[in-house]
Amino acid sequence: MNKVIFFFALSLISIHTYSQTTVIRGGEIHTGLNEEPFVGDILIEGDTILEVSRNALKGDLIIDAANSIITPGVIAPDTQIGILEIGALSETRDGDSNMYSMGFSVYDAINPNSTLIPWNRSNGVTSAITLPDFNWDPLSGMASYFLLDGSLRVNGIPDIALTGEIGAISSGSRAESLILLKDLLEFASNLSEKDISSSMKISEAMESFEVAELMELQPRDVIALYNLLNKKLPLIINVNRASDILKLIDIKKLYGLNLILMSAQEAELVKNEIAKNSIPVIINPFDNIPDSFDELASSIRIAASLEEAGIKVMFSESRTHNYHLIRQGAGNAVANGMSYTGAIMALTSNVAKSFNIPDRGILQKGMKADIVIWEDDPLEPSTFPEKVFINGNDMDLTTRSSRLTKRYTDKRDLPNTYK
C-alpha cells in the first residue's frame, strides 16, 4: 500500500514538473532565422519551445522580458571548451592523441566541471563544438558537440565532424599534404560497409592501400574515414590561402565531401567559388592581421564580403577561454558591413545547420529551449545576459570570476580568505 502511494505521489510530481510551462513575455525576439526581429512571447514546456508568437501566450510562469532582447543560445563552432583548463599546462589539455588520427574522439575527455563552461555560459554560449588539436595533418581527429549545462553526464553528440589542416608548414610541402589528403580519401572511397565490419576486414582493406600503412592507421581511424564519406560527416579544414581553398573545393567535388572551411582568411578572393559550392565558412571577425604568407589578403571586410556572396558564415575566437567574445566579433562584423540578422544567424542557426544539429540554434516551435535573454544589444560587448536557458532550464550564472569579484569588492575589514 505504502509503495502504491509513494508511486502515485512520485507520478504526481513528475506530471507537475513536465506540465509546468514558462512564457518569456514581450521581448524583442531574434529567431536566428533570416527574418526581422519582432516583439512577442515564447512558450516553453520542459526542454522544448512550444510556441513563438507575436501574440501574448499563456503559461504557468511568466518571465517579463519587456525591453530585453531574446536570441537563441550562442553555439560556439570551434572551441576547446571542456578539454583545456590552462593553456600552458599540458596536463590540463586533452586535445592530442599519440595513438590515433582521424578516429581520435575528444568526447570522453570533456570535463563538465571546467571553469570555462560556466564562464562562457554566463556570457550567452549554450553549446559548443570542441575540436582536437590541429597537428598539420590534412586529416586528424573528430570534433564533438555538447551542451554547456554542466551536467556530469555530458549531454551532447560525440564525433559530429572530422578535422584537418592544409597550408604552410615549416618542413615539407603543402603539395604533400594535398596528395596525402587525396590518397586518404581515395582509400576511404574504396571502403565498403563490409570492409569495416571487423578488425580483420579492416586490416585486409588497409593492406591494399599504402597510405593506410604509411599513416599507421588504426581500425577506428579507418571507420572514421568511412563515416566521413558515407555518413557525410562535416569536415572542418583549417586553411587560409586562396589557392589552397580552391584545391579543397576540387577535392570536395570529387569525393562529395561535406566541407566546412575554417579561418579561411583569404576566402574573399575566392568567395564566388565557395558560394557556388555551398561551403560554410568559420571566420575570426577580429583577425585582419597578415600573420603568415598564407593570410596576406586578410581583411576586416571578410564577414560582410562572404555574407554578400551568399556564404553561410560562422564566427570563431582564437582564445577558447573567452570564446563568448564571438559576440563582440559579430558586433565588429556588423560595424564593418555585415547585416545584423546575418550576424545573429552566424552565432546560432548557421552553426546548427552546418553541423547537422537538428533541434537547436533557432527560436521556433519544436526546437530545444536554448534561449538567452539579454539586457540590451547582444552584439555590444558591454551587454550581459539576464537569463540563460539550456534545454528549458533557467541556468545559474554564477562563475568563479563573479565569486572572486564579490570577494574583492567586499569592503569588510577581513582577510579575503574569510570573505
Binding site: P290, A297, E380, S382, L404
Partner: protein
C-alpha cells in the same frame, strides 16, 4: 697637456652617454580644424556634449561652445552626433618587434639568451614596414609604446613612438620621451631559463636575479658618481670606469631617467616587486597584465603604480587564472578613485579596438557596483597611458596647449559599432576613413595584386 685634455674630454662624453638614436620626428603638415557640435570626452574626466574643438599649429587651441574662427583657411568638420576623444595610447605593444607576418626571421622581441639583457633596446629590433601600425591607426591609436618581450627578468629598453609610419625608427620616435625598462615576473623567465637547466628556474630564482642585477647597478652608479665627483686634475690621471651598456640602462633607472614597466600577474609577486623597488630606491611606473591586480588595488594606489591590464584575458597560464572582468575598474576605483588603470593590448588585434576593451571593463565594473562614467573610463586608454609613458604633459588629453592628437568617432566610442573616422596626430590628418586617406606600408604595396595595396578597407 692639450692632448691629454682632449682624451679626457672624449672619455667624459662617453660616460655621459651621448644621446643615441635621437628622435628626428617631424609631424605631417598640420591643419586648422574646427570641429563643431561634437560630443567630447577630454581624457581629464569631462564629457562635453555639443561642443566645439579648435586645433591649429599642431596644438589644441580651444574647447567650448560656439567657437568662431575668423579665418578662411579653417577646415570645419561637422561633428554633430559624433564623438571626439584624445588619440588612443597603447602602453604595451610589440608591433615592429613582433611584426606581421610573424616569421622567425623578423620575430625580434625577446633576446632570450640571458636572464638580464638590460643592454638591448626594442627600437633596434623594430621593423618600420610592419603592416600592423596602420591597422592600429584605424582604431584611433596615435601613440604606442613598444616593449621587449617577457622571456627575461630584465628584457631591455622600451620606446614610445608616434603612429606615423616612416622609413627610420628615429623618425617615428616620440621626441624626448623617456625609455622604459621592461622587467618580467613569474612563469615566463623561469620557464625559458629553467628549461635550459640554468637560473632562474623558480620564482625565488627570479627574485634573486633582479636583486643581483640591482646590486651591480648600484655599484656601477657608485663608481660613476665617485669618478664624477673627482677634481678635474684627478680625472686627468685616473681613467673613468669602463662603460657597460647593461649597467648604463639599470643605473639610468636608479637616476630616475627610465620608467620601470613590469610584466607581472600574481598579486604577491607585485607586492614583492614593490619591496625590491624600495630596497634599491627606484620607482615602478606600471605593472602590466596584472590579472590579479584587483587583489592588491589599494597597494598599487598607495604606491602610485598604474595597472596596465586586459579587459578579460585569462587562462592561458596558471598565473592568469584568477581573472575578474572588474579588474580594471577595481584598480581604477582603489582608495576612492586614486587608482591608475590602463587598458593595454599586448596584441595586434586588441590594439585596433582598445575603446571596446575599455567599454567591456567599464560595463563589468558597473555591474560589480561601481558607477564609472565614460568620461572616466576613456582615461584608461588616453591620459593614464600617457602618464605611464611620461608624455602626459604633451598629449593624452584634450587640453588647450597640448598636442592635437585627436580621434573623431562615428558614434559613442564605447559602442562596438563606432569606428574612428578621422585621426589627427599633432594636428595633422593621419587617417580619414571616408576618403581612404592613410598610410600604406611598403610591405602592403602590391603584395597580393601587384596593381593594388594589400587591403583596401
Amino acid at each position: 697637456m692639450k692632448k691629454l685634455f682632449l682624451v679626457v674630454f672624449s672619455l667624459t662624453l662617453i660616460i655621459n652617454s651621448f644621446p643615441a638614436f635621437e628622435s628626428t620626428y617631424k609631424p605631417l603638415e598640420s591643419e586648422k580644424v574646427l570641429f563643431i557640435n561634437g560630443n567630447i570626452l577630454d581624457g581629464e574626466g569631462n564629457e562635453f556634449l555639443n561642443t566645439d574643438l579648435f586645433i591649429n599649429d599642431g596644438k589644441i587651441v580651444a574647447i567650448g561652445q560656439g567657437i568662431s574662427v575668423d579665418d578662411e583657411d579653417v577646415k570645419i568638420i561637422n561633428a554633430k552626433n559624433k564623438w571626439i576623444t584624445p588619440g588612443i595610447i597603447d602602453i604595451h605593444s610589440h608591433m615592429g618587434v613582433y611584426p606581421a607576418p610573424s616569421v622567425r626571421t623578423s620575430s625580434d622581441g625577446n633576446e632570450a639568451t640571458s636572464p638580464v639583457t638590460a643592454e638591448v633596446w626594442a627600437e633596434h629590433s623594430m621593423w618600420v614596414q610592419d603592416p600592423q601600425y596602420s591597422l592600429a591607426l584605424k582604431g584611433g591609436v596615435t601613440t604606442f609604446h613598444v616593449l621587449p618581450g617577457s622571456a627575461n627578468l630584465i628584457g631591455g629598453r622600451g620606446v614610445t613612438v608616434k603612429n606615423l609610419q616612416r622609413n627610420t625608427i628615429q623618425s617615428m620616435k616620440y621626441p624626448n620621451a623617456k625609455h622604459s625598462l621592461k622587467m618580467a615576473c613569474g612563469e615566463n623567465p623561469k620557464r625559458v631559463y629553467g628549461n635550459r637547466g640554468q637560473a632562474p628556474s623558480t620564482r625565488m630564482g627570479n627574485f634573486a636575479g633582479y636583486r643581483k642585477a640591482w646590486i651591480e647597478a648600484e655599484n656601477y652608479l657608485d663608481k660613476l658618481e665617485a669618478y664624477d665627483s673627482k677634481t678635474d686634475e684627478d680625472k686627468m690621471i685616473e681613467s673613468p670606469p669602463k662603460r657597460d651598456l647593461r649597467l648604463d640602462t639599470l643605473s639610468d633607472v636608479l637616476k630616475d631617467e627610465i620608467l620601470v614597466h613590469i610584466h607581472c600577474y600574481r598579486a604577491e609577486e607585485m607586492a614583492l616587486m614593490i619591496d625590491i623597488a624600495k630596497e634599491f630606491n627606484y620607482k615602478i611606473t606600471a605593472f602590466h597584465h596584472g590579472v590579479e591586480a584587483y587583489k592588491i588595488a589599494d597597494l598599487l594606489a598607495d604606491n602610485g603604480i598604474c595597472g596596465a591590464l586586459w579587459a578579460d584575458w585569462w587562462g592561458f597560464k596558471h598565473e592568469a587564472y584568477d581573472m575578474v572582468q572588474a579588474n580594471i575598474a577595481i584598480v581604477d576605483q582603489a582608495r576612492g578613485g586614486k587608482g591608475c588603470a590602463i587598458v593595454h593590448s599586448d596584441d595586434e588585434r586588441g590594439i585596433q579596438r582598445l575603446n571596446q576593451e575599455a567599454a567591456k571593463a567599464r560595463a563589468a565594473g558597473n555591474k560589480a557596483g561601481y558607477d564609472i562614467s565614460k568620461a572616466r573610463a576613456i582615461n584608461w586608454i588616453t591620459s593614464n597611458p600617457a602618464k605611464a609613458a611620461g608624455i602626459y604633459s604633451e598629449t593624452g588629453s584634450l587640453v588647450v596647449g597640448k598636442n592635437a592628437d585627436v580621434v573623431l568617432w562615428s558614434g559613442d566610442p564605447f559602442s562596438v559599432y563606432s569606428l574612428a573616422e578621422q585621426v589627427f596626430i599633432d594636428g595633422a590628418l593621419a587617417f580619414n576613413r571616408n576618403t581612404g586617406f592613410g598610410p600604406v606600408s611598403d610591405f602592403d604595396v602590391g603584395i597580393v595584386d601587384p596593381r593594388e595595396d594589400r587591403v583596401n578597407e
